[in-house]
């Protein structure tokens, strides 16, 4: 038996590198996982493997968000909401296109918050629920990541306030902040950039999706942890990055 037996977990971006790892882990812990992603075929494929449900979800589309919550209601309602969908595009501040900035904020911040609003009433009714927002180590600041770090910082701040607002209803709200993780999103980095990133990680390797999934699974079952940011970065966020 696991604490997630009989629970319904909605994982946005569930077909991405980290998202897939989270779906697999939560399913292994007993949850019925709704693999929600823009890529319908990939979502269905993963859902088939883990015994979950595939769902097309565009986190920036209000109707799509409502449809996702309605889909989960048929299964018993969202018990665990994992806001994992995210997009990273970097540019120097002077040339950052406002439209791109807004799109990244919509995907990485506004969509997740809107989903929390939609999922919360059902959780409040059950007097139980877990919201886990995937932030990023970029919340601490990263060269060229103005939009991404702004959105992820906003998500961290909202996590803290939502934890205070929803805690009395038995709902915990936390964030996980991954560091450099091997995913299709990071595969395209130039080799020297990738190596420099790995050299800055005390553990000595890039993160793996399961490293992040383990943190999410922990928070999905933890009843007395809320409003926190769990940084899963192999130690990259401590120490002096310029020290030998």
């Amino acid at each position: 038996m696991s604490g997630l037996d009989g629970k319904v977990a909605l994982v946005t971006g569930g077909a991405g590198g980290i998202g897939r790892g989270i779906c697999e882990r939560l399913a292994a812990e007993g949850a019925t996982v709704v693999v929600a992603d823009l890529d319908a075929a990939a979502a269905d494929s993963i859902a088939a493997v883990i015994g979950g449900k595939g769902l097309v979800l565009d986190v920036t589309d209000p109707a799509s968000r409502v449809a996702a919550i309605d889909f989960c209601a048929v299964l018993g309602g969202v018990d665990v909401l994992v806001n994992c969908a995210g997009v990273l595009k970097d540019a120097r501040i002077a040339t950052f296109e406002p439209a791109l900035f807004r799109r990244l904020v919509a995907i990485n911040l506004l969509g997740p918050l809107a989903l929390v609003r939609l999922a919360a009433p059902g959780m409040i009714e059950k007097r139980a629920g877990r919201v886990i927002n995937l932030a990023s180590r970029a919340w601490l600041g990263t060269f060229g990541s103005t939009a991404y770090s702004t959105a992820k910082g906003g998500l961290v701040g909202a996590t803290r306030s939502l934890a205070l607002e929803l805690g009395g209803g038995g709902i915990t709200v936390n964030a996980v902040a991954p560091g450099f993780v091997d995913t299709p999103m990071t595969d395209g980095l130039p080799p020297h950039i990738r190596q420099r990133a790995i050299d800055s990680i005390p553990i000595g390797r890039a993160g793996r999706p399961d490293d992040i999934a383990g943190a999410v699974a922990y928070l999905a079952e933890a009843p007395y942890v809320t409003g926190q940011v769990l940084v899963v970065c192999g130690g990259r966020s401590i120490g002096n990055p310029f020290a030998a």
Partner: protein, 168 residues
């Protein structure tokens, strides 16, 4: 002594409620590097249920859009940038999701900009103001002689009300 040169050197931009406090503080500066104090709009308190999609887009997305526009506009002028934010939503509060999203979003933007603009010799810092805080002394330190040595710093002027709590 207030000097015209000092006030001309410091731009105060943004639609935040703390703008008047910052303008008063800047008026008292005695000399400053070319600088911008950015005071973002922060949404009012509202429960989660009140955050409709439209409101999220306008008050959170719109506030962050405005900060980006202000920063980009000021890049040619400012050698020092100071973001001035209310401390309470930074720390988190009930019915403060929108305000916390904006203030913490700006906090992270400031962290990134401090890294990114260091190579251009531009400093970026954050002042987090508690109730009735007067930022004059801290602005004088950050914008005056010697201020070029501080960047990426987050200074809470809260009289210690946030001590014993995790900052974001």
């Amino acid at each position: 002594m207030t000097t015209a040169a000092a006030t001309e050197a410091v731009h105060v931009v943004g639609a935040g409620a703390l703008r008047a406090v910052v303008e008063r503080a800047v008026a008292g500066l005695d000399g400053s590097a070319p600088a911008t104090c950015l005071v973002p709009y922060v949404p009012d308190r509202a429960s989660l249920a009140e955050w409709t999609d439209t409101r999220l887009s306008a008050e959170v997305g719109g506030a962050l859009d405005a900060v980006l526009a202000d920063v980009q506009h000021e890049l040619g002028h400012a050698e020092r940038i100071v973001f001035v934010l209310p401390a309470a939503p930074l720390m988190g509060g009930r019915d403060s999701m929108g305000a916390s999203a904006v203030t913490n979003g700006v906090l992270s933007m400031a962290r990134t900009l401090s890294i990114e603009l260091a190579r251009d010799g531009v400093t970026v810092n954050v002042l987090a103001l508690g109730s009735d805080a007067d930022p004059a002394a801290q602005l004088a330190a950050l914008l005056g002689p010697g201020g070029e040595q501080s960047t990426g710093q987050e200074i809470y002027l809260t009289g210690g009300s946030d001590l014993g709590r995790l900052r974001p």
